[in-house]
């Protein structure tokens, strides 16, 4: 038996197939993963993401601390509520975790890190925080629901007290705000518009019920994974880990090189990698043949070398298999993938595969 979120009973009630995810008993799907996927792309779905770890950092020097702790630069966060996606690196430039940082006030920033990496993340953050006199406070008492899809915000708006509702609907992309005892952010992990809503655990079941009654479809971790794969959003532990730098995982855009004198953990090894010609590229693959691409399958590029699929699966929106892969450097636009001994044809494509309900690659 794993840990249970405040919404566990709701999942069971809704007929969820429960699976272990990083020590948590979580819903994989509620009957059909594909239908849940389509609900998010065409209307609205809701995900229990209460297993994710919310950490509040407080202190006079919290901004300086974060400018040292992570590879992106929180100096970019100047408006209250603004969010930043970043990697937290070890001293070798490998990724300890990827996370979102919200700028609450000048002495309070909020982090949302992965569930499976909770223990090592907290230990690392606490260790680094000492020198900056920053208090690290896990908010395990908060639940989190993601409502995602083209109609998600409109359908979820009644859950926000009228006092803050319009302001919440007016939130810009990648920005959050406090709304009474809720924290609402226009963020997500699906490639669709929507909100992630943090709330006291006791309120989660009633908000869940209200969303479902309003026509938002419960969606499980299975749909969450196919949605994020179509959106080409990285998954920690699959697309990158402590042995992989953000430069090898398609996340160079999250590394803030300027100002050049900002010292962040992992900067030096990253500078060396940046100065050397890229050995590996990170790209999207579209399967031209029938079949399904899966994690760890071997990619063969004729005359160039070999790579590996880091995240592969079936795309319900496209109706074909897609993948993210780490590939040898070079100029080529097709390759083969070894699927149970057969070499299947794949095309290298520019990601994302799907965004805001639209297929973004050529089929």
């Amino acid at each position: 038996m794993g840990s249970k979120t405040p919404l566990y009973d709701k999942h069971v009630e809704a007929g969820a197939r429960i699976v272990d995810f990083g020590g948590w008993d979580m819903p994989l799907h509620y009957g059909s993963q594909k239908e849940e996927h389509h609900a998010v792309r065409t209307n609205a779905g809701l995900f229990d993401v209460s297993h994710m770890t919310i950490v509040d950092l407080k202190g006079e020097r919290v901004r300086d601390f974060l400018r040292y702790l992570v590879a992106n630069d929180v100096a970019k966060l100047q408006d209250a509520g603004k969010a930043l996606y970043t990697c937290m690196l070890n001293e070798n430039g490998g990724v300890i975790d990827d996370l979102i940082i919200y700028f609450m006030t000048e002495s309070w920033f909020r982090l949302v890190v992965n569930a499976a990496t909770r223990d090592k993340d907290l230990a690392w953050i606490r260790k680094q925080a000492e020198a900056f006199d920053v208090a690290v406070n896990e908010r395990a008492e908060l639940a989190m629901i993601a409502v995602q899809g083209p109609n998600a915000r409109e359908l979820a708006a009644p859950c926000i007290d009228s006092e803050w509702r319009q302001q919440a609907l007016d939130l810009k992309l990648f920005t959050g705000m406090e709304a009474g005892d809720l924290f609402v952010a226009r963020t997500g992990y699906t490639g669709e518009d929507g909100w992630e809503i943090l709330m006291p655990a006791a309120r989660a079941p009633s908000i869940w019920d209200r969303l479902v009654a309003g026509g938002v479809a419960p969606a499980g971790l299975g749909a969450r994974d196919t949605l994020r794969l179509e959106a080409a959003m990285n998954l920690y532990g699959a697309d990158m880990d402590e042995t992989i730098s953000p430069l090898e995982a398609g996340l160079a855009w999250t590394v803030a090189w300027e100002p050049a004198d900002r010292d962040f953990i992992g900067r030096k090894p990253l500078e060396v990698m940046r100065a050397n010609p890229d050995k590996r590229r990170f790209a999207g693959l579209l399967l031209e043949d029938k079949g399904v691409l899966r994690n760890h399958q071997r990619v063969v590029v004729d005359g160039v070398g070999e790579g590996e699929i880091t995240s592969g699966g079936f795309s319900p929106t496209i109706g074909r298999s897609i993948a993210l892969a780490r590939l040898p450097a070079g100029d080529y636009d097709s390759a083969h993938v070894d699927v149970r001994g057969k070499l299947l044809n794949v095309r290298i494509v520019k990601t994302p595969f799907v965004r805001n309900g639209q297929v973004r690659i050529e089929l």
Binding site: L28, G291, F314, P316
Partner: protein, 130 residues
């Protein structure tokens, strides 16, 4: 959970077998198996005429979640494959015991039914696995 068809034999690997009038044996995966797999998106079928051996790989069913081998419960030759699955793998989800059959095998000898499970025995296995 739906009732198990009483005219079939089953395996510990959640496959079912039906003896057809023409002497072949139809094989598919059980309702329990399709539910555990989730929405099927691809089925890799063997070639007609191919030899299969008891316990050997025969087909692969792939769901949104994962790929899963289907083992042959008997020795024989592939007499037919269900081509419907190439375009509509979800037939296994909707009709696992009927239209969702995967292959028909022409057995190379007598079938050792003692190595297979009766509906009651398979039900007991499901109850045990909970």
């Amino acid at each position: 959970m739906s009732e198990l068809p009483g005219d079939l034999l089953y395996t510990k690997d959640h496959e079912w077998l039906r003896r057809e009038d023409d002497g072949t044996v139809s094989i598919g995966v059980t309702d329990h198996a399709q539910a555990a797999l989730g929405d099927l998106v691809y089925v890799e079928l063997p070639e007609v005429g191919q030899d299969v051996t008891e316990g050997g790989d025969m087909a692969v069913v792939e769901s949104v979640k994962a790929a899963s081998d289907v083992y042959s419960p008997i020795d024989g030759i592939v007499a037919a494959v269900n081509d419907v699955l190439a375009d509509d793998p979800e037939t296994i989800n909707t009709e696992p015991y009927d239209a969702g059959w995967i292959v028909k095998i022409k057995p190379s000898g007598d079938i050792d039914e003692s190595a297979l499970l009766t509906p009651d025995q398979y039900q007991a296995l499901l109850d045990e696995e909970g």
